[in-house]
Symmetry: C2
Subunit: 282 residues, 2 copies
């Protein structure tokens, strides 16, 4: 990091935080990640809305949309393309888990240069695997993009080959939930299915954009528990996150798919929305 | 923090860490907390052994016993009494969950002045409650004192009254696991029972000292699932952590206990071990 990243911490250009910050002590905070294209942060309003919702879930005071917007714009003026990460923690506190009565949240906004290429795209898509590491069930934290991400770290450590692009994680009962850094969609019997995230998982912004787009286009959508065996029946599988957008899956262990018509149609629709965002037309 | 704490980060006297540290990004690290009495860190060797074991669980390179011992001693020379916290993270990395191939761990050692008083002691003990917030099940992380502590933060936020000293947390199935910052013991039918931590919870150093002491003294011990209803049958209940040691429970919701004979006997034995540690006799 460093050379190719610009960082604002509480509005100041610096890159260090107090070691007593509850983000460092307990992972007591939330974050979001989004691409910046042509100087414009893509779907920023959705990301800020999600941050605000997640802060409310953890009862962290939200710094406010206009303050975060201003700081994001400041970074985007310095660097017009890259990956933006916004992190909000409960700030410093006394020793112990008890949240301070009047927390003073820390906000860290980092714009890293360059957009990671999507492996295999265009045309080929992602090769993925199943992870052994399971997601713990916790309805009170489910859906929140918080800073307790050891499960994802452990799952991502399960493979080293660059030929495998993502791993799927299941809950303790074996139901599929998501990828380590992406949400999961499958087309089964003509219906777009994505796992229910009411007891674990991260409700990604791109997942919500895909769901909204599919509904607007009259595509049948089901948000429900999804068993690994069901992927045998899937005619299309794709992953989503805000940086890679729609990421077609072409191989999972011994099963292969081509990039299907629904994946292509949704991808065109999403890319059009992103193009409009990057031209400032929204 | 700050004024009444001395901090060493990677051996240097400073109090800030890189915001790109994986401890701050993902809670990707471990920690331990212990008291310093008469300039001596109590049960330091057990805490370092636990840190080494926990680092191995997360595949974080352990900085080594002798290095940590030297830095701890350096702080204890500056301040002879207080609470010592040792934190080890996977250090900085590139964007993304994937652990760096050659991590450069960060170690933060903080000695805070003063030992917190144990509410209600001596004689009266702790008044506790049940927490609503559940612990997620995750055998791969169970027992590890890692930096993903949002569950404890959420549980500790459930009450504000200083008259309640600790809260008990259950797993998703309703079995008791631990307090937000302590382990749980109950005497049931003459047997010392503490919850099994194979799918969630933190295996505290003081818990292991109590278990070893009880076994050495011929006390019957059971490490097994413990249901809240069973506390109705308990003749004694106590909590443990490295700072408060053995902490008798005198009230839980509508149930009350006096400080029983087994609690007193174990407490005397543990205090004797701590006195020996603080005189450097071990």
């Amino acid at each position: 990091m460093g050379m190719d990243a610009a960082v604002l911490i509480n509005g100041r250009s610096e890159d260090r935080v107090d070691a007593a910050d509850r983000g460092f002590q307990y992972g007591d905070g939330v974050f979001t990640t989004l691409p910046v294209l042509s100087g414009r942060p893509i779907f920023l309003s959705l990301h800020l809305a999600r941050l605000e919702r997640d802060c409310a879930r953890l009862r962290i005071p939200f710094p406010g949309v206009s303050l975060l917007q201003a700081e994001v714009r400041q970074l985007c003026r310095m660097q017009g393309e890259g990956v933006l990460k916004i992190q909000i923690t409960r700030g410093c506190g006394d020793r112990g888990y008890r949240p301070p009565a009047e927390p003073n949240p820390t906000r860290v906004i980092r714009l890293s240069a360059g957009i990671p290429t999507r492996p295999g795209l265009p045309g080929q898509g992602a090769t993925i695997r199943f992870c052994q590491h399971r997601l713990g069930s916790n309805p009170a934290l489910a859906g929140v993009k918080h800073l307790n991400r050891l499960e994802q770290v452990m799952a991502r450590a399960e493979w080293e080959s660059d030929a495998v692009h993502e791993g799927l994680m299941s809950d303790g009962a074996g139901a599929l939930i998501e990828g380590t850094m992406s949400n999961l969609f499958a087309v089964i019997a003509g219906c777009l299915v994505t796992p229910d995230l009411s007891h674990c998982g991260v409700a990604g912004v791109m997942r919500s954009v895909v769901l909204a787009t599919a509904c607007a286009d009259g595509i049948a959508v089901e948000v429900r528990p999804l068993h690994p065996d069901e992927l045998e029946l899937a005619t299309e599988v794709f992953l989503t996150n805000s940086v890679v957008r729609i990421w077609p899956v072409v191989a999972l262990e011994n099963r292969t798919w081509s990039v299907g018509p629904l994946t292509q149609a949704l991808s065109r629709r999403i890319e059009a929305q992103i193009q409009a965002e990057s031209r400032g037309e929204t």
